[in-house]
């Protein structure tokens, strides 16, 4: 390139120069080697909400980082890709994001089956990867599956099972509920969570008996035959691991049969705003985990994040996936800053054991546990539903001391330690 000489300043040149000056910061940054981050999720089909709400939580974090000078002085450029919820497509997309698009970090907002597939790719490529929405416990708990640069900033199934089991057992003992039924989607995450919940439920209240189990298919349009099967079994309590659209349909179809007044119902995924706001005639008194609620933890930072997230997403409600993704972005930011590099090994070393401030914790802090790359200390608790805001009340927070203790026992029993 020849150097330009600016001796004759015509009007056009001045205009162009001033326009250039205005655009200067933007252009300069855009040219200075942006930091590309690959974000893959499900953007199509019945679970497209996963992708939409993940993007709607990660993008504001990236905007914030970019507005304050970027990460390591580089502007972040996110690249979003749809895996359509297929594991082999998820693996391909992950490889392509790194190999072709030059992404240095992956935020993987896949469902569990996609996350397992991406985990194998990450093992090969050695980039930093944070699973933002996969909750299946073995992803990080099983040392055979764990990958050195892969982390999970999402709930872990076994944590929810411990807190759910402990809360539900308390209710069961108080109300003398011994005969239980379960109804969960027939896929591995549904089966695992249900089994773990049952295990901890019996741990806390040994005389409980599970007498009837139903396994509807995911995305099945009608659950009526399952509703009536449960009614036939006449249990005193029901546990269901259904979520999102399926859960909404199940509640509506159960309502027609007055299912929810016939027994105590425990549904961990109920306490998520899209479900709570979509169901028109929500039965009161359903026991549920607080997946994400602006009132749990009931702090100004959480309320502020909630408002900001809704504003960013055309007033749509944030989901459980939203806070998990937001946290992932913050973990990524903190780890890269601490390591001073996006190198997989260095950033992973920095992320191990890292504690960040977070609106999504009752103590205000969330930690990425070093030994198994999964986060702890996040807000976890159970309460009961009411038909209007705040939708879930009387939330009892889980005790992280008890959670980690029982989790360790569970790991030993499964041969993970």
């Amino acid at each position: 390139m020849r150097e330009k000489t600016a001796t004759h300043l015509g009007r056009r040149t001045v205009l162009a120069a001033s326009a250039g000056a205005l655009a200067m910061p933007f252009v300069a940054r855009a040219q200075a080697n942006p930091l590309k981050i690959g974000i893959q999720s499900i953007f199509s089909g019945p679970i497209a909400l996963l992708g939409a709400s993940s993007k709607g939580a990660i993008q504001p974090e990236i905007d914030r980082i970019n507005a304050t000078g970027g990460l390591l002085g580089r502007q972040i450029q996110p690249i979003y890709r749809d895996s359509k919820g297929q594991p082999q497509e998820a693996a391909r997309v992950a490889r392509e994001l790194v190999n072709t698009d030059g992404c240095e970090i992956l935020l993987n907002a896949e469902a569990s089956s996609g996350a397992y597939a991406v985990q194998e790719v990450v093992r090969d490529l050695g980039v930093l990867c944070i699973h933002t929405t996969a909750e299946a416990s073995s992803l990080t708990a099983d040392p055979k599956l764990r990958a050195p640069t892969a982390f999970r900033s999402a709930r872990q199934g076994v944590h929810d099972a411990i807190v759910g089991g402990s809360y539900s057992a308390k209710v069961a003992v108080a109300k003398k509920l011994t005969k239980w039924a379960t109804c969960s989607p027939d896929y591995s995450f549904g089966r695992d969570t249900t089994a773990q919940f049952g295990e901890f439920l019996k741990h806390f209240a040994p005389d409980i008996e599970i007498t009837s189990q139903s396994w509807p298919k995911m995305g099945q349009p009608d659950f009526t035959e399952v509703v009536t099967k449960i009614l036939q079994a006449k249990p005193q309590a029901l546990y269901s691991a259904m979520f999102a659209g399926d859960l909404s349909a199940f509640i509506n179809q159960g309502n027609a049969y007055a299912l929810f007044s016939a027994m105590q119902v425990f549904v961990p995924a109920m306490g998520d705003l899209p479900v709570l706001t979509t169901i028109k005639n929500m039965p009161a008194g359903i026991h549920s985990a607080a997946r994400y609620l602006p009132t749990f933890p009931d702090t100004p930072v959480n309320a502020a994040w909630y408002e900001a997230n809704r504003k960013f997403n055309n007033n749509d409600y944030p989901t459980n996936w939203s806070w998990e993704c937001s946290t992932a972005a913050r973990f990524m930011e903190a780890a890269v800053k601490k390591a001073g590099s996006t190198n997989g090994k260095a950033a992973a070393a920095a992320l191990e054991g890292l504690t960040i401030d977070s609106p999504f914790s009752t103590t205000g802090k969330i930690t990425m546990r070093a030994e198994d790359h999964t986060m702890i200390g996040y807000a976890i608790g159970w309460g009961t539903t009411v038909p209007k805001e705040p939708f879930v009340t009387g939330i009892e927070p889980g005790d992280w001391g008890q959670i980690t203790e029982l989790e360790t026992e569970w790991k030993k029993k499964n041969g993970y330690i």
């Binding site: 939409a52 139903s214 396994w215 509807p216 009526t224 035959e225 099967k229 027609a256 049969y257 005639n281």
Partner: protein
């Protein structure tokens, strides 16, 4: 995986028998409405409408929106039906008509493209969230108890509406002039057009009726089912099974097969909780092998 004791216990207790039978009927009757359109279109036009699930989905979304505006369930179901009748005409006129006589795989390709487009349009218009219409206020009543079994009044209404529509369709096809023309067209389209009957119009009409049936089913189901982009997919598979078992082109066959499938579901979930879907495919294979044209289909030479 297999719990035959529970199944035996259920079929020998009246309460269980009544409840599971009605729940099988409700699943079956809505399926029948979708499958009836599918089988009608195939019977007359020899077109396998792989986009039929999309009609059901769009009908449900349309009904949802009309219900949100007017609060009237009847209006919303009508809107779903009429909207899809119109969509059926457009679909036939601009897409399917161009591949009459082309091989079935080309039709499959056109329908697949339509499904892709419509799923994304739904995502653009209504968003990726799931929706629930919610039970209309007039049906927010406690369930009835019949012979110890539980039956929600709303479902009784659904079953009756589906039966009336099915009966009406059968009467129109069997007794009226237009019905005779349609049946004749199914047999021998050349003869019908030689008689000076406008087959172009007739084909549009058939697609309108088929679309309307799926749209009505979508609207009827909207209060109790979830609306998501891509929700037509599982309905499509099940209606295919129904059409094939009942006999491609036979409305009566579709009714019997749909109820049969509903009952396989409702009793299968008790006896074979983890293999209910497999049962349906086995049923389909057995029927096809024993009687390829289905229970009530005419042999195609």
């Amino acid at each position: 995986m297999i719990d035959l004791d529970a199944l035996l216990e259920c079929v020998t207790t009246t309460s269980c028998l009544v409840t599971q039978t009605t729940s099988g009927l409700i699943v079956g009757m809505l399926l029948f409405l979708v499958a009836a359109g599918l089988t009608l279109i195939f019977g007359v036009l020899k077109i396998v409408n792989f986009a039929h699930g999309t009609f059901y989905m769009l009908g449900a979304y349309l009904a949802y929106t009309v219900f949100a505006i007017t609060g009237s369930y009847i209006l919303s179901v009508l809107a779903g039906g009429l909207g899809m009748a119109f969509f059926g005409i457009v679909f036939e006129r601009f897409l399917i008509r161009r591949v009459y006589g082309a091989n079935v795989l080309m039709q499959l390709l056109i329908c697949y493209a339509t499904v892709l487009i419509c799923d994304d349009l739904v995502k653009i218009i209504w968003g990726p969230d799931f929706y629930a219409m919610g039970m209309p206020p007039e049906f927010q009543v406690p369930p009835l108890f019949i012979a110890g079994g539980v039956v929600p009044p709303f479902y009784l209404v659904l079953i009756s509406v589906a039966l009336v529509i099915g009966g009406g369709l059968a009467m129109v096809l069997g007794l009226t002039k237009i019905g005779k023309i349609i049946r004749a067209a199914a047999h021998n389209p050349d003869m019908v057009s030689a008689l000076g009957i406008n087959t172009t119009l007739l084909y549009s009409l058939v697609f309108a009726v088929g679309g309307m049936l799926a749209g009505i089913a979508g609207g009827l189901a909207a209060p109790v089912r979830s609306l998501t982009p891509g929700m037509g997919f599982s309905i499509l598979i099940e209606s295919f099974i129904v059409t094939v078992i009942g006999g491609m082109g036979s409305i009566g066959g579709a009714l019997i097969a749909a109820v049969m499938l509903g009952l396989i579901r409702s009793f299968g979930t008790i006896g074979f909780p983890l293999f209910t879907e497999g049962l349906m495919y086995i049923a389909m294979i057995i029927i096809l092998v024993l009687k390829p044209s289905g229970l009530f289909g005419k042999e195609i030479v």
